[in-house]
Amino acid sequence: MWRDAALVAGKDLRIEGRSRVALSQVAPFGVVALALFAFALGPDRDVMAKGAPGLFWVAVLFCTVLAVQRSVSVESADGARDGLRLSGIDPSGLFLGKLAGVAAQLVVLEALLAAGVVLLYGARIEVPWLIVVSCLLGTIGLAATGTLYGALSAGLRVRETLLPFLLLPIVAPVLLAGTRIWQAAMAGGTPATGTQWLRLLVVFDVVYVAVGILLFGPIQETA
Protein backbone atom coordinates (compact mmCIF):
# COMPACT_ATOMS: atom_id res chain seq x y z
CA MET A 1 0.00 0.00 0.00
CA TRP A 2 2.69 2.49 1.00
CA ARG A 3 4.89 1.62 -1.98
CA ASP A 4 1.92 2.08 -4.33
CA ALA A 5 1.12 5.39 -2.64
CA ALA A 6 4.69 6.59 -3.17
CA LEU A 7 4.54 5.53 -6.82
CA VAL A 8 1.29 7.40 -7.49
CA ALA A 9 2.37 10.50 -5.58
CA GLY A 10 5.70 10.48 -7.40
CA LYS A 11 3.89 10.21 -10.74
CA ASP A 12 1.57 13.13 -9.93
CA LEU A 13 4.42 15.31 -8.70
CA ARG A 14 6.49 14.45 -11.75
CA ILE A 15 3.59 15.54 -13.98
CA GLU A 16 3.38 18.75 -11.96
CA GLY A 17 7.14 19.22 -12.24
CA ARG A 18 6.90 19.07 -16.02
CA SER A 19 3.64 20.90 -16.59
CA ARG A 20 3.95 23.44 -13.72
CA VAL A 21 0.19 23.97 -13.66
CA ALA A 22 -0.02 24.47 -9.90
CA LEU A 23 3.02 26.72 -9.85
CA SER A 24 2.15 28.85 -12.84
CA GLN A 25 -1.65 28.98 -12.50
CA VAL A 26 -2.91 27.99 -9.05
CA ALA A 27 -0.27 29.85 -7.01
CA PRO A 28 -0.74 33.14 -8.90
CA PHE A 29 -4.49 32.69 -8.49
CA GLY A 30 -3.98 32.48 -4.72
CA VAL A 31 -1.99 35.71 -4.73
CA VAL A 32 -4.70 37.37 -6.84
CA ALA A 33 -7.28 36.20 -4.29
CA LEU A 34 -5.25 37.79 -1.48
CA ALA A 35 -5.10 41.07 -3.42
CA LEU A 36 -8.85 40.96 -4.09
CA PHE A 37 -9.60 40.39 -0.40
CA ALA A 38 -7.47 43.46 0.36
CA PHE A 39 -9.41 45.52 -2.20
CA ALA A 40 -12.69 44.31 -0.68
CA LEU A 41 -11.65 45.28 2.85
CA GLY A 42 -10.09 48.63 2.02
CA PRO A 43 -6.57 49.82 2.69
CA ASP A 44 -6.83 49.72 6.50
CA ARG A 45 -4.06 47.36 7.63
CA ASP A 46 -5.64 46.75 11.05
CA VAL A 47 -8.78 45.35 9.44
CA MET A 48 -6.66 43.25 7.09
CA ALA A 49 -4.51 41.87 9.89
CA LYS A 50 -7.68 41.00 11.81
CA GLY A 51 -9.16 39.20 8.85
CA ALA A 52 -5.88 37.61 7.78
CA PRO A 53 -6.48 34.13 9.34
CA GLY A 54 -9.84 33.64 7.66
CA LEU A 55 -8.74 35.12 4.34
CA PHE A 56 -5.69 32.86 4.32
CA TRP A 57 -7.86 29.77 4.75
CA VAL A 58 -10.48 30.87 2.24
CA ALA A 59 -7.70 31.34 -0.31
CA VAL A 60 -6.36 27.89 0.60
CA LEU A 61 -9.82 26.36 0.09
CA PHE A 62 -10.13 27.92 -3.37
CA CYS A 63 -6.69 26.65 -4.28
CA THR A 64 -7.66 23.21 -2.97
CA VAL A 65 -10.57 23.05 -5.38
CA LEU A 66 -8.22 23.90 -8.26
CA ALA A 67 -5.55 21.44 -7.14
CA VAL A 68 -8.13 18.66 -6.84
CA GLN A 69 -9.57 19.47 -10.27
CA ARG A 70 -6.07 19.23 -11.67
CA SER A 71 -5.38 15.97 -9.82
CA VAL A 72 -8.54 14.47 -11.35
CA SER A 73 -7.99 15.83 -14.82
CA VAL A 74 -4.50 14.29 -15.18
CA GLU A 75 -6.25 10.91 -14.94
CA SER A 76 -9.11 11.76 -17.27
CA ALA A 77 -7.22 11.73 -20.59
CA ASP A 78 -6.18 8.63 -22.53
CA GLY A 79 -8.06 6.27 -20.23
CA ALA A 80 -5.48 6.86 -17.51
CA ARG A 81 -7.99 6.08 -14.78
CA ASP A 82 -8.74 2.66 -16.23
CA GLY A 83 -5.01 2.12 -16.69
CA LEU A 84 -4.41 2.84 -13.01
CA ARG A 85 -7.13 0.39 -12.00
CA LEU A 86 -5.72 -2.25 -14.34
CA SER A 87 -2.17 -1.80 -13.10
CA GLY A 88 -2.94 -3.73 -9.94
CA ILE A 89 -2.21 -0.80 -7.67
CA ASP A 90 -3.94 -1.18 -4.32
CA PRO A 91 -6.93 1.25 -4.19
CA SER A 92 -5.92 2.39 -0.69
CA GLY A 93 -2.42 3.07 -1.99
CA LEU A 94 -3.87 4.97 -4.92
CA PHE A 95 -5.94 7.07 -2.54
CA LEU A 96 -2.97 7.84 -0.30
CA GLY A 97 -0.83 8.62 -3.34
CA LYS A 98 -3.31 11.05 -4.85
CA LEU A 99 -3.76 12.55 -1.37
CA ALA A 100 -0.03 13.00 -0.96
CA GLY A 101 0.31 14.58 -4.38
CA VAL A 102 -2.39 17.15 -3.68
CA ALA A 103 -1.11 17.73 -0.14
CA ALA A 104 2.46 18.37 -1.30
CA GLN A 105 1.28 21.02 -3.75
CA LEU A 106 -1.00 22.56 -1.15
CA VAL A 107 1.81 22.85 1.41
CA VAL A 108 3.90 24.84 -1.06
CA LEU A 109 0.90 27.03 -1.86
CA GLU A 110 0.20 27.57 1.83
CA ALA A 111 3.77 28.65 2.48
CA LEU A 112 3.41 31.17 -0.31
CA LEU A 113 0.02 32.40 0.90
CA ALA A 114 1.22 32.64 4.50
CA ALA A 115 4.13 34.77 3.38
CA GLY A 116 1.66 36.87 1.39
CA VAL A 117 -0.61 37.33 4.39
CA VAL A 118 2.30 38.39 6.59
CA LEU A 119 3.74 40.77 4.00
CA LEU A 120 0.57 42.21 2.45
CA TYR A 121 -1.79 42.26 5.44
CA GLY A 122 0.79 42.88 8.15
CA ALA A 123 -0.33 39.83 10.16
CA ARG A 124 2.04 39.25 13.10
CA ILE A 125 2.56 35.64 14.09
CA GLU A 126 3.54 35.12 17.73
CA VAL A 127 3.49 31.30 17.88
CA PRO A 128 4.84 30.02 14.53
CA TRP A 129 4.75 26.29 15.37
CA LEU A 130 0.97 26.47 15.82
CA ILE A 131 0.60 27.79 12.28
CA VAL A 132 2.88 25.11 10.86
CA VAL A 133 1.09 22.27 12.65
CA SER A 134 -2.36 23.58 11.77
CA CYS A 135 -1.42 23.99 8.13
CA LEU A 136 -0.07 20.44 7.94
CA LEU A 137 -3.13 18.95 9.65
CA GLY A 138 -5.53 21.08 7.65
CA THR A 139 -3.79 20.14 4.42
CA ILE A 140 -4.18 16.43 5.09
CA GLY A 141 -7.91 16.90 5.72
CA LEU A 142 -8.39 19.04 2.63
CA ALA A 143 -6.42 16.68 0.43
CA ALA A 144 -8.26 13.61 1.78
CA THR A 145 -11.77 15.03 1.26
CA GLY A 146 -10.68 16.56 -2.04
CA THR A 147 -9.35 13.23 -3.32
CA LEU A 148 -12.54 11.44 -2.26
CA TYR A 149 -14.86 13.93 -3.97
CA GLY A 150 -12.53 14.20 -6.93
CA ALA A 151 -12.80 10.44 -7.49
CA LEU A 152 -16.58 10.56 -7.04
CA SER A 153 -16.98 13.32 -9.61
CA ALA A 154 -14.28 12.02 -11.96
CA GLY A 155 -16.62 10.74 -14.65
CA LEU A 156 -19.05 13.65 -14.54
CA ARG A 157 -19.25 16.18 -17.33
CA VAL A 158 -20.41 18.78 -14.79
CA ARG A 159 -17.41 18.12 -12.52
CA GLU A 160 -16.02 21.66 -12.62
CA THR A 161 -19.23 23.19 -11.31
CA LEU A 162 -20.34 20.40 -8.98
CA LEU A 163 -17.07 19.71 -7.15
CA PRO A 164 -16.80 23.06 -5.31
CA PHE A 165 -20.44 22.84 -4.26
CA LEU A 166 -19.94 19.37 -2.81
CA LEU A 167 -16.48 19.88 -1.34
CA LEU A 168 -16.51 23.33 0.24
CA PRO A 169 -19.34 22.76 2.78
CA ILE A 170 -17.71 19.49 3.84
CA VAL A 171 -14.43 21.23 4.68
CA ALA A 172 -16.13 24.02 6.64
CA PRO A 173 -14.76 22.59 9.94
CA VAL A 174 -11.21 22.88 8.56
CA LEU A 175 -11.82 26.54 7.80
CA LEU A 176 -13.24 27.17 11.27
CA ALA A 177 -10.45 25.31 13.04
CA GLY A 178 -7.67 26.72 10.88
CA THR A 179 -8.90 30.26 11.36
CA ARG A 180 -9.22 29.92 15.12
CA ILE A 181 -5.73 28.42 15.39
CA TRP A 182 -4.27 31.29 13.36
CA GLN A 183 -6.05 33.75 15.62
CA ALA A 184 -4.60 31.99 18.66
CA ALA A 185 -1.15 32.01 17.06
CA MET A 186 -1.43 35.72 16.29
CA ALA A 187 -2.68 36.57 19.78
CA GLY A 188 0.27 34.81 21.42
CA GLY A 189 0.26 33.74 25.05
CA THR A 190 -0.85 30.22 25.97
CA PRO A 191 -2.39 28.58 22.90
CA ALA A 192 -4.98 26.62 24.92
CA THR A 193 -7.84 27.30 22.50
CA GLY A 194 -5.51 26.43 19.67
CA THR A 195 -4.86 22.91 20.90
CA GLN A 196 -8.60 22.23 21.20
CA TRP A 197 -8.99 23.09 17.53
CA LEU A 198 -5.91 21.04 16.66
CA ARG A 199 -7.68 18.02 18.12
CA LEU A 200 -10.67 18.73 15.89
CA LEU A 201 -8.38 18.82 12.86
CA VAL A 202 -6.82 15.53 13.90
CA VAL A 203 -10.28 13.93 14.18
CA PHE A 204 -11.26 15.29 10.77
CA ASP A 205 -8.07 13.94 9.21
CA VAL A 206 -8.31 10.51 10.81
CA VAL A 207 -11.97 10.11 9.85
CA TYR A 208 -11.62 11.04 6.19
CA VAL A 209 -8.27 9.30 5.63
CA ALA A 210 -9.75 6.13 7.15
CA VAL A 211 -12.88 6.44 5.00
CA GLY A 212 -10.72 6.90 1.92
CA ILE A 213 -8.50 3.91 2.67
CA LEU A 214 -11.54 1.72 3.25
CA LEU A 215 -13.82 2.92 0.46
CA PHE A 216 -11.63 4.19 -2.35
CA GLY A 217 -11.91 0.93 -4.29
CA PRO A 218 -15.74 0.93 -4.40
CA ILE A 219 -15.75 4.70 -5.04
CA GLN A 220 -13.65 4.27 -8.17
CA GLU A 221 -16.24 1.89 -9.55
CA THR A 222 -18.81 4.68 -9.59
CA ALA A 223 -16.89 6.76 -12.10
Binding site: L152, R157, L166, P169, I170, A172, A177, W197, F204, L215
Partner: protein, 309 residues
Protein backbone atom coordinates in the same frame (compact mmCIF):
# COMPACT_ATOMS: atom_id res chain seq x y z
CA UNK B 1 -30.93 -0.42 -18.15
CA UNK B 2 -34.40 -0.92 -19.48
CA UNK B 3 -36.01 -1.99 -16.25
CA UNK B 4 -35.01 -2.36 -12.65
CA UNK B 5 -38.09 -4.06 -11.33
CA UNK B 6 -36.18 -6.84 -9.60
CA UNK B 7 -33.95 -4.55 -7.60
CA UNK B 8 -36.62 -1.98 -6.88
CA UNK B 9 -38.95 -4.14 -4.84
CA UNK B 10 -37.53 -5.26 -1.51
CA UNK B 11 -39.76 -6.92 1.07
CA UNK B 12 -40.76 -3.81 3.00
CA UNK B 13 -41.64 -1.51 0.14
CA UNK B 14 -45.05 0.05 -0.03
CA UNK B 15 -45.00 0.17 -3.79
CA UNK B 16 -45.31 -3.20 -5.41
CA UNK B 17 -43.39 -4.41 -8.41
CA UNK B 18 -44.62 -4.25 -11.95
CA UNK B 19 -47.81 -6.26 -12.36
CA UNK B 20 -49.09 -5.73 -15.87
CA UNK B 21 -52.34 -4.25 -14.68
CA UNK B 22 -54.82 -2.36 -16.77
CA UNK B 23 -54.79 1.11 -18.17
CA UNK B 24 -52.60 3.72 -16.56
CA UNK B 25 -52.85 7.46 -17.11
CA UNK B 26 -49.29 7.82 -18.33
CA UNK B 27 -49.73 5.40 -21.19
CA UNK B 28 -53.39 6.00 -21.74
CA UNK B 29 -53.09 9.66 -22.60
CA UNK B 30 -49.82 10.75 -24.17
CA UNK B 31 -49.88 14.53 -23.77
CA UNK B 32 -49.42 15.51 -27.40
CA UNK B 33 -51.09 12.53 -28.99
CA UNK B 34 -53.40 13.17 -31.86
CA UNK B 35 -55.23 9.96 -31.03
CA UNK B 36 -57.87 10.85 -28.50
CA UNK B 37 -60.42 8.07 -28.40
CA UNK B 38 -59.72 5.50 -25.60
CA UNK B 39 -59.80 2.35 -27.78
CA UNK B 40 -57.22 3.79 -30.14
CA UNK B 41 -55.03 4.94 -27.24
CA UNK B 42 -55.16 1.51 -25.64
CA UNK B 43 -53.80 0.11 -28.87
CA UNK B 44 -50.57 2.01 -28.18
CA UNK B 45 -49.49 -0.08 -25.25
CA UNK B 46 -48.69 -3.52 -26.58
CA UNK B 47 -45.91 -2.26 -28.88
CA UNK B 48 -42.97 -3.09 -26.63
CA UNK B 49 -43.63 -0.68 -23.76
CA UNK B 50 -43.46 -2.03 -20.21
CA UNK B 51 -46.49 -0.80 -18.29
CA UNK B 52 -45.63 1.57 -15.44
CA UNK B 53 -45.46 0.12 -11.92
CA UNK B 54 -48.93 0.17 -10.44
CA UNK B 55 -49.63 1.00 -6.84
CA UNK B 56 -51.12 -1.82 -4.83
CA UNK B 57 -54.43 -1.29 -3.09
CA UNK B 58 -52.84 -1.73 0.32
CA UNK B 59 -50.15 0.86 -0.24
CA UNK B 60 -52.71 3.27 -1.65
CA UNK B 61 -54.82 2.82 1.48
CA UNK B 62 -51.78 3.29 3.74
CA UNK B 63 -50.83 6.44 1.91
CA UNK B 64 -54.34 7.86 2.16
CA UNK B 65 -54.79 6.97 5.83
CA UNK B 66 -51.46 8.56 6.76
CA UNK B 67 -52.28 11.59 4.63
CA UNK B 68 -55.64 12.00 6.35
CA UNK B 69 -54.10 11.59 9.80
CA UNK B 70 -51.41 14.12 8.93
CA UNK B 71 -54.04 16.60 7.78
CA UNK B 72 -56.15 16.11 10.91
CA UNK B 73 -53.06 16.40 13.12
CA UNK B 74 -51.89 19.57 11.40
CA UNK B 75 -55.33 21.20 11.60
CA UNK B 76 -55.60 20.25 15.28
CA UNK B 77 -52.12 21.66 15.97
CA UNK B 78 -52.98 24.92 14.22
CA UNK B 79 -56.28 25.18 16.10
CA UNK B 80 -54.72 24.41 19.49
CA UNK B 81 -51.69 26.55 18.77
CA UNK B 82 -53.52 29.63 17.55
CA UNK B 83 -56.76 29.64 19.57
CA UNK B 84 -56.71 27.30 22.57
CA UNK B 85 -53.29 27.81 24.14
CA UNK B 86 -52.57 31.03 26.04
CA UNK B 87 -49.95 33.56 24.94
CA UNK B 88 -46.64 33.36 26.77
CA UNK B 89 -45.95 35.67 29.72
CA UNK B 90 -42.71 36.93 28.22
CA UNK B 91 -42.88 36.25 24.48
CA UNK B 92 -46.61 36.85 23.92
CA UNK B 93 -48.07 35.42 20.75
CA UNK B 94 -44.61 34.77 19.40
CA UNK B 95 -44.42 31.67 21.55
CA UNK B 96 -46.93 29.99 19.22
CA UNK B 97 -44.09 29.32 16.79
CA UNK B 98 -42.84 26.79 19.31
CA UNK B 99 -45.61 24.42 18.25
CA UNK B 100 -44.20 24.29 14.73
CA UNK B 101 -40.50 25.13 14.77
CA UNK B 102 -39.09 22.31 16.96
CA UNK B 103 -41.27 19.75 15.20
CA UNK B 104 -40.13 20.86 11.77
CA UNK B 105 -36.53 20.86 12.95
CA UNK B 106 -36.92 17.38 14.44
CA UNK B 107 -38.18 16.06 11.12
CA UNK B 108 -35.54 17.86 9.08
CA UNK B 109 -32.45 17.34 11.19
CA UNK B 110 -33.02 13.94 12.76
CA UNK B 111 -35.73 11.98 10.98
CA UNK B 112 -35.15 12.87 7.34
CA UNK B 113 -31.39 13.09 7.28
CA UNK B 114 -30.99 10.20 9.70
CA UNK B 115 -33.16 8.05 7.44
CA UNK B 116 -31.19 9.20 4.40
CA UNK B 117 -27.89 8.30 6.06
CA UNK B 118 -29.11 4.87 7.19
CA UNK B 119 -30.63 4.04 3.78
CA UNK B 120 -27.45 5.14 2.02
CA UNK B 121 -25.34 2.87 4.21
CA UNK B 122 -27.78 0.01 3.61
CA UNK B 123 -27.48 0.63 -0.11
CA UNK B 124 -23.69 0.57 0.03
CA UNK B 125 -23.66 -2.59 2.14
CA UNK B 126 -23.50 -5.34 -0.50
CA UNK B 127 -25.89 -7.70 1.28
CA UNK B 128 -28.68 -5.17 1.53
CA UNK B 129 -28.08 -3.42 -1.79
CA UNK B 130 -31.37 -2.61 -3.49
CA UNK B 131 -32.59 0.41 -5.41
CA UNK B 132 -35.30 0.64 -2.77
CA UNK B 133 -32.78 2.11 -0.31
CA UNK B 134 -31.50 4.55 -2.89
CA UNK B 135 -34.98 5.82 -3.69
CA UNK B 136 -35.84 5.99 0.00
CA UNK B 137 -32.69 8.05 0.69
CA UNK B 138 -33.46 10.36 -2.22
CA UNK B 139 -37.04 10.86 -1.08
CA UNK B 140 -35.94 11.46 2.51
CA UNK B 141 -33.35 14.05 1.49
CA UNK B 142 -35.75 15.88 -0.78
CA UNK B 143 -38.47 16.09 1.86
CA UNK B 144 -35.82 16.82 4.48
CA UNK B 145 -34.53 19.79 2.51
CA UNK B 146 -38.05 21.23 2.42
CA UNK B 147 -38.36 20.80 6.18
CA UNK B 148 -34.87 22.21 6.67
CA UNK B 149 -35.82 25.38 4.79
CA UNK B 150 -39.01 25.59 6.88
CA UNK B 151 -36.86 25.26 10.02
CA UNK B 152 -34.64 28.14 8.96
CA UNK B 153 -37.59 30.31 7.88
CA UNK B 154 -39.64 29.71 11.05
CA UNK B 155 -36.50 30.24 13.12
CA UNK B 156 -35.82 33.53 11.36
CA UNK B 157 -39.37 34.72 11.94
CA UNK B 158 -38.91 33.97 15.63
CA UNK B 159 -35.39 35.39 15.73
CA UNK B 160 -36.19 38.82 14.31
CA UNK B 161 -38.37 40.04 17.22
CA UNK B 162 -36.51 38.01 19.87
CA UNK B 163 -32.86 38.47 18.98
CA UNK B 164 -33.42 41.54 16.79
CA UNK B 165 -31.90 39.96 13.69
CA UNK B 166 -33.21 37.66 10.95
CA UNK B 167 -30.07 35.62 11.01
CA UNK B 168 -27.59 35.11 13.81
CA UNK B 169 -24.36 33.16 13.37
CA UNK B 170 -25.35 30.94 16.22
CA UNK B 171 -24.04 27.39 16.36
CA UNK B 172 -27.30 25.59 15.70
CA UNK B 173 -28.39 27.93 12.93
CA UNK B 174 -25.02 27.59 11.28
CA UNK B 175 -24.90 23.82 11.44
CA UNK B 176 -28.49 23.62 10.16
CA UNK B 177 -27.51 25.82 7.23
CA UNK B 178 -24.39 23.73 6.52
CA UNK B 179 -26.56 20.62 6.60
CA UNK B 180 -28.92 22.21 4.10
CA UNK B 181 -26.06 23.03 1.74
CA UNK B 182 -24.61 19.52 2.07
CA UNK B 183 -27.88 17.91 1.09
CA UNK B 184 -28.57 20.41 -1.67
CA UNK B 185 -25.27 19.15 -3.06
CA UNK B 186 -26.64 15.61 -2.80
CA UNK B 187 -29.74 16.61 -4.76
CA UNK B 188 -27.61 18.43 -7.35
CA UNK B 189 -25.55 15.28 -7.82
CA UNK B 190 -28.71 13.21 -8.26
CA UNK B 191 -29.82 15.45 -11.08
CA UNK B 192 -26.76 14.51 -13.12
CA UNK B 193 -27.96 11.97 -15.67
CA UNK B 194 -26.52 8.50 -15.08
CA UNK B 195 -27.42 4.84 -14.98
CA UNK B 196 -29.64 4.18 -11.93
CA UNK B 197 -27.01 1.96 -10.25
CA UNK B 198 -24.16 4.41 -10.83
CA UNK B 199 -26.23 7.31 -9.61
CA UNK B 200 -27.32 5.32 -6.57
CA UNK B 201 -23.75 4.45 -5.57
CA UNK B 202 -22.45 7.95 -6.14
CA UNK B 203 -25.30 9.52 -4.18
CA UNK B 204 -24.96 7.02 -1.36
CA UNK B 205 -21.26 7.88 -0.97
CA UNK B 206 -21.99 11.60 -0.92
CA UNK B 207 -24.73 11.10 1.67
CA UNK B 208 -22.35 9.00 3.76
CA UNK B 209 -19.56 11.59 3.63
CA UNK B 210 -22.02 14.32 4.54
CA UNK B 211 -23.39 12.27 7.42
CA UNK B 212 -19.87 11.71 8.75
CA UNK B 213 -19.22 15.44 8.52
CA UNK B 214 -22.30 16.45 10.50
CA UNK B 215 -20.96 15.68 14.00
CA UNK B 216 -17.67 17.41 13.17
CA UNK B 217 -19.51 20.46 11.84
CA UNK B 218 -21.72 20.37 14.91
CA UNK B 219 -18.81 20.44 17.35
CA UNK B 220 -16.84 22.99 15.39
CA UNK B 221 -19.63 25.54 15.12
CA UNK B 222 -20.58 24.81 18.71
CA UNK B 223 -17.13 25.92 19.84
CA UNK B 224 -17.27 28.70 17.33
CA UNK B 225 -20.39 30.39 18.65
CA UNK B 226 -23.47 29.65 20.73
CA UNK B 227 -26.58 31.74 21.29
CA UNK B 228 -29.55 29.39 20.75
CA UNK B 229 -31.60 28.30 23.74
CA UNK B 230 -31.19 24.74 24.96
CA UNK B 231 -33.45 22.02 23.61
CA UNK B 232 -36.92 22.12 25.07
CA UNK B 233 -38.05 18.57 24.42
CA UNK B 234 -34.93 16.70 23.40
CA UNK B 235 -32.84 17.76 26.38
CA UNK B 236 -30.94 14.97 28.13
CA UNK B 237 -33.56 14.11 30.76
CA UNK B 238 -36.39 14.24 28.19
CA UNK B 239 -38.35 16.25 30.76
CA UNK B 240 -40.66 18.87 29.38
CA UNK B 241 -39.84 22.40 30.42
CA UNK B 242 -43.26 23.78 29.51
CA UNK B 243 -46.63 22.89 30.92
CA UNK B 244 -50.27 22.03 30.36
CA UNK B 245 -52.01 22.67 27.06
CA UNK B 246 -48.83 24.15 25.63
CA UNK B 247 -46.93 20.93 26.19
CA UNK B 248 -49.70 18.84 24.63
CA UNK B 249 -49.91 21.11 21.61
CA UNK B 250 -46.16 20.93 21.20
CA UNK B 251 -46.22 17.13 21.31
CA UNK B 252 -49.16 16.99 18.92
CA UNK B 253 -47.16 19.23 16.56
CA UNK B 254 -44.32 16.73 16.64
CA UNK B 255 -46.65 13.86 15.83
CA UNK B 256 -48.50 15.76 13.10
CA UNK B 257 -45.31 16.92 11.39
CA UNK B 258 -43.86 13.43 11.58
CA UNK B 259 -46.99 12.13 9.86
CA UNK B 260 -46.71 14.85 7.22
CA UNK B 261 -43.13 13.74 6.65
CA UNK B 262 -44.08 10.08 6.32
CA UNK B 263 -46.87 10.93 3.90
CA UNK B 264 -44.62 13.12 1.75
CA UNK B 265 -41.96 10.40 1.85
CA UNK B 266 -44.42 7.75 0.59
CA UNK B 267 -45.65 9.98 -2.22
CA UNK B 268 -42.14 11.00 -3.20
CA UNK B 269 -40.99 7.40 -3.22
CA UNK B 270 -43.86 6.44 -5.51
CA UNK B 271 -43.04 9.35 -7.81
CA UNK B 272 -39.40 8.22 -7.78
CA UNK B 273 -40.42 4.76 -8.98
CA UNK B 274 -42.50 6.31 -11.77
CA UNK B 275 -39.62 8.65 -12.71
CA UNK B 276 -37.26 5.71 -13.07
CA UNK B 277 -39.86 3.87 -15.12
CA UNK B 278 -40.28 6.89 -17.37
CA UNK B 279 -36.53 7.35 -17.73
CA UNK B 280 -36.08 3.78 -18.94
CA UNK B 281 -39.18 3.74 -21.18
CA UNK B 282 -39.16 7.26 -22.56
CA UNK B 283 -37.79 6.21 -25.93
CA UNK B 284 -40.10 3.22 -26.29
CA UNK B 285 -43.09 5.41 -25.43
CA UNK B 286 -42.09 8.04 -27.95
CA UNK B 287 -41.55 5.37 -30.60
CA UNK B 288 -44.93 3.78 -29.89
CA UNK B 289 -46.55 7.17 -30.14
CA UNK B 290 -44.77 7.92 -33.39
CA UNK B 291 -45.73 4.60 -34.93
CA UNK B 292 -49.34 5.03 -33.91
CA UNK B 293 -49.52 8.06 -36.15
CA UNK B 294 -49.73 5.61 -39.04
CA UNK B 295 -53.08 4.39 -37.76
CA UNK B 296 -54.59 7.86 -37.79
CA UNK B 297 -58.09 8.07 -39.29
CA UNK B 298 -56.86 10.40 -42.06
CA UNK B 299 -54.90 7.47 -43.44
CA UNK B 300 -51.45 9.04 -43.81
CA UNK B 301 -48.72 6.41 -43.92
CA UNK B 302 -46.02 6.41 -41.18
CA UNK B 303 -43.21 6.96 -43.63
CA UNK B 304 -44.78 10.04 -45.16
CA UNK B 305 -45.41 11.45 -41.63
CA UNK B 306 -41.81 10.97 -40.62
CA UNK B 307 -40.66 12.51 -43.87
CA UNK B 308 -42.70 15.62 -43.22
CA UNK B 309 -41.53 15.91 -39.64
Amino acid sequence: MTTDSSTGAPPTTEVTAFPPTGAHPIVEAPPNSTVTSPPAAAALRPTGVTPPPAQSARSRTTERVIGALALVGTVATVWLGLWVTPPDAVQGDLVRLVYIHPGVAWVALYLAFGLAAVSSVLYLWPRTRALFWDRLAAAAVEVGVVFNVCTLVSGSIWGKPTWGVWWAWDARLTSTAVLLVLFLGYLALRRVPAEPEVRARRSAFVALFAAIDIPIVHFSVDWWNTLHQGATVLNPGLTLKIHGSMAWTLLLGFVALTLVFVWMLLVRYRVGVLEDWLASNELDLALAERQSEGTDPDGASPSSRVGVA
